[in-house]
Structures are given as C-alpha cells and as structure tokens.
C-alpha cells in the first residue's frame, strides 16, 4: 500500500512538473502546449523551394551552431517590409554558424499567394540566400506557437529555444532600428550566455491556420 502510494505521488509530481512546463504563455493562443524558452524542440522535415526537404538535423549536420527559425510568408506586408532584413540577417549570421530557416505556414487554401509555386517564385525573384520551406500540415507552426509573420524562434546548438519574438525593435522601418534583438541574442549564445531580452513582441499578420 505504501509502495502504491509513493508511486502515485511520484507519478503525480511528474505530471505536475510536466503540466507546469507546458502551460506557460502561448503566443499564438492556438494550442495549450507550445515550446517554452529552454525547451528542446522536435525536429521536422519540410519541403523547400529548392525541391528538397530540410530538417534541423541536416542544418546542424552541415555545421550550424544554432538556427534562426523565422515564420514568414509571401503575402504579409509586414513580412515583405522585413524581407531585406531577413536576407541581411542570414548573410551576416550564416558564416558565424547561425543560418536562417524561413518557414511559411500559411494555409494555401486560405492564402493562395502562399502556395509552393508562389514561394518558389518569390524566392527566385528576391534571390533568397536562406532555406525557405513550407509547413503545409502546420504542425511545426502549432508546436512553436507561431502566431504571426514575421516571428523569430532562435535555437541553440542543442535544439533548445533561446529567444522568441521580433527581428528588431522597428518592424516598419529598417532605417530607424535601435535594437537588433536577434543579432544580440546570437551574440549572447556565441559566448555561452543567455539572450536578454529572450522574449519580445512585434506587430504582424496572423498566420492563416486551417480552422
């Protein structure tokens, strides 16, 4: 009886910790269990505009020390205003081991301008130097709690989420940026530190989830 009781206590405690670790703020409000800061994210395999599928493991395998995951899309005017910045961010960071992985999670049914054909077109026209993949099932976006575009999720070398939020402090005007949140967060990771701020917010277009 005593053994059963202590087993039950252990199980309940474990459950409590589990619930606690999964019930913090949900940026998208779409799911009760989204990745929290410090949590290791699950890998995924998503088709890119280059015709291949890409996983986090592939990127780490080719030398990435961390990955700048950005949920973005073709159609959102805020994403379009940040496109050049994302290109610059990638070009600046990829040689330091932190490539951008851009994910388009908009439902092409609701937003036809975000289908794979349109993604290929946009990547070609704008000469994207980073991987641009499609999350058609929206499972990855839901797991991350991605709410809007553009929205950044910075992973360290251990696939742990270390920063979420905005690229910088001025989403509408690249010329008037005071603070480059993602670059600063990467700099902190490079010296074994913790990004501060580790969480920011910005204005954007809601991700078009299937209802």
């Amino acid at each position: 009886m005593k053994q059963v009781l202590s087993l039950a206590i252990v199980m309940l405690t474990g459950l409590g910790i589990f619930i606690q670790s999964r019930s913090a703020a949900d940026p998208g409000g779409h799911s009760p269990s989204v990745y929290q800061l410090g949590e290791q994210v699950a890998d995924f395999d998503l088709p890119g505009v280059d015709g291949s599928t890409h996983s986090l493991a592939d990127l780490y395998g080719s030398g990435a020390k961390g990955i700048i995951v950005i949920f973005t899309c073709n159609t959102c005017p805020v994403s379009q205003r940040n496109e050049e910045r994302i290109i610059e961010l990638h070009e600046k960071m990829v040689n330091q081991g932190y490539p951008v992985l851009a994910i388009n999670a908009n439902d092409p049914g609701k937003s036809p301008g975000d289908n794979m054909e349109a993604m290929i077109q946009r990547a070609e026209n704008k000469d994207y130097p980073f991987l641009y993949v499609q999350d058609k099932s929206q499972e990855t976006a839901r797991a991350f709690g991605a709410a809007h575009t553009p929205q950044v999720f910075l992973l360290d070398g251990d696939r742990r989420l270390r920063y979420t939020g905005a690229i910088d402090d001025n989403p509408y005007n690249a010329g008037a940026v005071n603070q480059r949140y993602v670059e600063e967060a990467v700099e902190r990771l490079k010296v074994g530190g913790t990004p501060d701020p580790a969480k920011t917010k910005s204005v954007g277009c809601s991700i078009k989830y299937r209802s």
Binding site: G28, A147, Y172, P197, K201
Partner: protein, 179 residues
C-alpha cells in the same frame, strides 16, 4: 435628456482630449506629437503615450478598441461589423476606437482615403509608435501582436480577442457582457 447630454459629452471626450493636448501648431508643420494627440482628417494620431490616457480614464463607459490596418485583409473584412455596432449602440455609454497600425508612410494618404471611401463612422486613431515591444504587453499580455485584435473593457472588467470575428453575431456575443 440626461442620457443624451451624457452621450454627447462622451462623444466630445476624445476631441477634448485632443484639444487639451494639442500644442497649437498647424498639422502641416513638423509636429512634436509624441506624448500628445492631434487630429488630421478626423483621424486622431499619437504614439502609445498619447493613447494611454484612454486606458486610464475611469468611467462607467464601455471601451471597445479594435487594432487594425488597411494592409490587413482580415481586419478590413471585419470592419463592417464594428460599423454596425456604431449604429446599434447609439445612445449607450460606449466608445469604439478603431486603432490603426498602418505604416507611417501610408498613414497620411492611404488611411484617410480608405476612411473616406468606406465612409467609416467609428473614430479612427492612428497609433504611430515604432517600437511595438514597448507597448503590446501594456495593451494586453496575451496579445502576440498579430492583427486584428480587439480589447473591450468597462471599469475593471475586460476581455481580449486576437483574430478576426467571423460575423456580426460573434462580435455581438463578445461585447454583450460589457454593454
């Protein structure tokens, strides 16, 4: 009569607020409008510090703030529901503000043109504040920053909604407890 006077005075509240903060210079001049509110083409404009007094204003009035932009398709699609509320709530102690998050370079032409074309009746407030991380949580902790988003409050009671309303009935149900 009392009610009529009250709603008139409420209607004048924002104008009074604007006038009180208005620095006296012409809107065509370079305006140091930070921490103040001014009006161009019937659109009130300010940074977040200028909007903040709306949140602090103690009253038994219901406030409905809808955050939108002309570039946001779902926002534009739900705008007619808020316009219907404008008519339905006439005579009630309710203030509806359509808080625009348009791009600064489109706010002086595209936004007023949109308002004229659609004959928008609700008060539009252009929130021109370049650093959203400084004010999104002040509006609501649960807000990711995506638009549309709608905040309603009356006294201490409040509700927040991120995402568009699918129809007028859904918006009516959302505001009902606060009217």
């Amino acid at each position: 009569m009392f009610l009529k006077w009250k709603s008139l005075s409420l209607a004048g509240f924002l104008i009074t607020l604007a006038m009180a903060c208005f620095s006296g210079s012409s809107p065509n001049q370079q305006l140091p409008f930070y921490q103040s509110v001014y009006s161009i083409d019937d659109i009130l404009q300010s940074d977040f510090a200028g909007l903040r007094p709306v949140f602090d204003h103690p009253s038994d009035t219901t406030y409905i703030l809808n955050f939108w932009a002309t570039w946001c398709r779902p926002c534009v699609e739900e705008l007619p529901y808020f316009e219907s509320l404008y008519d339905e709530l006439q005579g009630k102690s309710v203030r509806i503000l359509l808080v625009s998050l348009d791009f600064p370079d489109q706010a002086s032409e595209k936004l007023p043109a949109f308002i004229r074309r659609h004959q928008v009746k609700n008060q539009v407030w252009y929130l021109n504040d370049p650093h959203p991380d400084h004010w999104i949580n002040e509006i609501n902790d649960a807000w990711s920053g995506s638009i549309p988003a709608t905040l309603i409050w009356k006294g201490e009671q409040k509700a927040f909604r991120e995402g568009a309303f699918t129809d007028l009935q859904e918006l009516r149900s959302f505001i009902q407890p606060y009217i």
